[in-house]
């Protein structure tokens, strides 16, 4: 069954919410594993989000413009002797989509509100 256009899955909402928390804290960039860890600790979940679910959701959010993505500087990764990360951050569109989705849920309000600036 196809899902409705514009409807966000729970994992996508979790990613946007965790990403907005990071944006608010002044450290807006995150990578896949990092956001999975953050979602796990926020939700008190036993297990991390699976690879397939996580990267499919990140890809969909990036394609729809709700996340901005870029590969980090290879030199930064090389200095730390690790593979380079694909970094994401929530865009303005993502923030609005998150707020809209939360307002449409009965009895719930968005947890995060950012200054218009």
């Amino acid at each position: 069954m196809r899902r409705k256009e514009g409807v966000l899955l729970p994992i996508e909402l979790d990613i946007l919410e965790a990403g907005l928390e990071l944006l608010r804290s002044g450290d807006p960039d995150f990578h896949g594993f990092g956001i999975a860890k953050r979602i796990q600790s926020r939700e008190g979940a036993r297990n991390l989000t699976s690879h397939g679910t996580l990267y499919k959701a990140l890809g969909r959010l990036a394609e729809s413009g709700m996340l901005e993505s870029r590969w980090e500087d290879p030199n930064a990764a090389a200095e730390e002797q690790r593979p380079r990360r694909r970094l994401y951050r929530v865009s303005g569109l993502g923030e609005r989509a998150y707020h809209k989705a939360m307002l449409e849920q009965p009895g719930k309000a968005p947890i995060l509100r950012l200054d218009p600036s």
Binding site: F33, Y55, K56, R85, R86
Partner: protein
Amino acid sequence: MNLLSVSTSITSRWAGFYTRKLPAAQRDDRLSEIESDLWEHASCGRHDDRSEADIAFEILLRMLKGVPADLLWRRTVALRAAGHRAGTAPAPFSKGATDVLKRVLIAVANAIAVAGGAFLIINALGSGLIDGSEADMVFFAIEALGGLMLIIGVFYARSSPRIGAWLMVGGALLTAVWHFWAWFLFVPPAMLVIVGAIAGLQSRRPAGGAPA
């Protein structure tokens, strides 16, 4: 070689498998993200003083739980690529990981049908089909019939897919119902044989017509 390196190797190989023959950009991006994720996961686990077995198990669990999403993602990317090449709406996706999984399912179902069928026949012969009481002979005759249907169905499927599939489905159902008292032993493999028989029948249908 340790558990952690085995689990990361399996996960990387799976990623390589479901991204094969995809456009290079999407394939490379996905493989690089997975590689990074595996490194971060292991590093984070070591930082938290977790055992390598724990980390390895968690990595494998993440991989396995994400298999359906990986295959759906692959399908989406492949359809888009096919649509771009053709310049029209994406063509039905009929090759790739789904076909391989279907072949594996059919092979496993056939193996269970043959092995299970042989077991049922041998058990029936040794338990009272020949020299048992009348009730025993009836019971084990039906058990042996189920086994025969399974075995004959597997081999008949090559020349006559429809009859072969019906024999396998019939044999599986008969066996499961006849052993209802041990349903937990017989129902799961019977279901697998039925699904495999149907998948085998579909895969042998002539090409064309509506996509599955």
